[in-house]
Symmetry: C2
Subunit: 468 residues, 2 copies
Amino acid sequence: MKSRDGSDLWAFFEPRSVVVFGSLKEMLGLGYALIKNILDFGFSGKVYPVNPSHSEVLGMKVYPTVNEIAAPVDLAVVITPPSTVPAIIEECARKGVKAAVIVSENFADAGGDGAELQQRLVDITTHSSIRIIGPNTVGVFNAANGFTTIPYPFGYDKVRKGGIAYCSQTGIVLPQCQPLEDRAYPVSKMCDVGNKCDVNEVDLLNYLANDPETKVVAMHLEDVKDGRRFMDAARRLVARKPLLIFKPARSEAGARASASHTGSLAVNDRIYDTAIRQTGAIRVNTWQEYWDIPKVFAYQPLSTGNRIAIISHSGGAGVVATDVAVESGLAIARYSDATLDKLAKLSPRLAGNPIDLGPPLSLTDDPMSLQAEVISIVLDDVNVDCATIVLYVGTMAPTSYIVEMFARLKKRVSKPLTVWFYGTRLYLIEDVSRQLEGLGVPTYTDQETAVKALGALARYSLLAADTG
Amino acid sequence: MKSRDGSDLWAFFEPRSVVVFGSLKEMLGLGYALIKNILDFGFSGKVYPVNPSHSEVLGMKVYPTVNEIAAPVDLAVVITPPSTVPAIIEECARKGVKAAVIVSENFADAGGDGAELQQRLVDITTHSSIRIIGPNTVGVFNAANGFTTIPYPFGYDKVRKGGIAYCSQTGIVLPQCQPLEDRAYPVSKMCDVGNKCDVNEVDLLNYLANDPETKVVAMHLEDVKDGRRFMDAARRLVARKPLLIFKPARSEAGARASASHTGSLAVNDRIYDTAIRQTGAIRVNTWQEYWDIPKVFAYQPLSTGNRIAIISHSGGAGVVATDVAVESGLAIARYSDATLDKLAKLSPRLAGNPIDLGPPLSLTDDPMSLQAEVISIVLDDVNVDCATIVLYVGTMAPTSYIVEMFARLKKRVSKPLTVWFYGTRLYLIEDVSRQLEGLGVPTYTDQETAVKALGALARYSLLAADTG
């Protein structure tokens, strides 16, 4: 970790040993809660609690200081009052601890004395090789090895391992605040950079560009420390994998609000917008897009073009999908004559794109087979690069049929597709959605994002084809 | 119903008696399914099944023709093959049936012969006093009396009675396709106008303007039959209650897609956009906005201005809310000196707007009380017209505390507010959201819509104050 180019943050995500500074009060202490989380998620490395007032916690020996630990330590997690933090970090640096996550807040985020304390941390990183994430952060979560530095209860214990790295400048998008088990986002690594006294977005981009587990990076950013380095790092990452950026503080008032909680002042949004575009990253604009658009990259291959097929149970939904497709840079595919012939044989109502399955399905005795056949025919068309599918799930179309249909489809067709389910029961929609994602088909809680995701995929695919 | 100004569509929503034409095959027949729905939702009027092949269904006498029914009939629902429909409607008109919902499809929506059949229906309405919704529709749902013409299973049986009328040109937003029980949208009436051979958006606007149960109208429209009459009707409605319009077919491709399933060609979107704006209606742009923005009007009073307070558990969420507020025409409230003094006494970190409750809550032993106090102080400020609140729900903040806090708050404060919950369990988020809406506080599944809703409320409130 001496290179300082940030390309290797392994000690944060894959430490072999971690020392925890914080209150060990049972249940209430954040040090206690963190150790419990580390154990619950199956981290297999060494954990060393440090606290002068305890001798044992959760069956583990507690050390009075980090110096008493004989073995080498990769990572420190510090959750102590701010005034105590610089001395702890100095001690860790002297011991050769490679990295530290400082969870404690009231540094630059609070201004005044806090800013001075933060400057002391910066000084330590310049005079030693220790690297710091934070302060004012919950740190990291690594789905692959179950390691986390988050000292708050999750309320669940399963995270789907996958290809999305979610990075942010706020703790609200980390696992202790989000329904990662219920929604089963396929996660590789997550990180909240907090006040960025050392590690920042550039380090993360460099690290994640080389991370074999990460297929796509979603990054929430309120400000950028060094524009030029950021753009270079973003370009390098985009050359390898897609980068989605959610950059709030778009408005002047938003930038002021950001400055007041991060201690950094954002610049004019148009500059950010142009810069993001120039790197080949894709800008997203809502929390929902931040969470959901990456799924298409995690689950689907790149597309060979931007021609979309829209297949729906509802004419009205088909029209909405068409609008959003056009607005997302997609072209509405024109089916080949062969496809049109095949569809016409099934029903005269299947001539167009979008296809409204509603009328033909109501005229057949075997709607599930007809639906599967139409989807297959359309996806086989050489003029179709990707598809979005809108399906009803419920009494009239049971989950098992739908899942079987996609299982068969996946064996034959490799074009990217997204699915939006509607129906009268939320639990059925969630259930069929998770089952489809188990097959590698991304699903969306709203129709518009299902289409926008394919727009983002086509845009990145084109870029990758041009430069690859 | 002779006036033809559409101001009275009562026979569709509040018939005293209804005749059903359609297959009475148990379970599979749509006539059977409709009668079951009518009975399940507690309609207390008379139901007359008509079918020459049956003598009894669900314990009710079946009539061979409508003429055999001795009593007067308000409404007919027709779910028979298209070619049989004109004769049925003629028979109903002769008997003096006041209104008919034609569920059958393959009329103008299918083109060719279907368009001719539809013209015959138009002819009947010009030569008689019968009014028609459809064809190609599921018709109506009235939450107040439980009456529906929808012949498909709902999969639930509770709908929250409330002030929102949802009208559309597609069946996908009617109760048989949407989680009305799970999401508890407060509904007055719902209607799918289908092919609009007679009743169209103008009739609905006129009717709903006078409907005492409807506080706000959300309308999905792909095209408008008569622009001038539509604008007049919309203006009259807006003078009484807010009107939200979701107008897809924005793009050329979208308009073509719309024409192919509705049989009507939409015009340039800019014309629609200007027209909608001129009537004082508010345009919404996604399904989610169509469903969720009306909730603020159903549950909250109008606002006295556009100055928003943003209170959140997360600095990052506060910044996003600030952006969306500004983009929605809201101003970020500047708290009075008195408010700032009170907040400063609670914590030095509470000086701004947005307020990030995170840091002060982590420093107190009684976070739930501090949170309640901050929200009360801010809402009491004369410089604050409305507020959006972002709260965590879960292990660290149980539902019961949150609901009690809002119950107390509602007794003291009458300013409009919206709430967005985040957390690690979807069922907890849904549960606390439904409980809050039970208290009259609208909640949102995403942060952005929670803020946009207040923007829409402020815009309509200003208009109402100017003209009222």
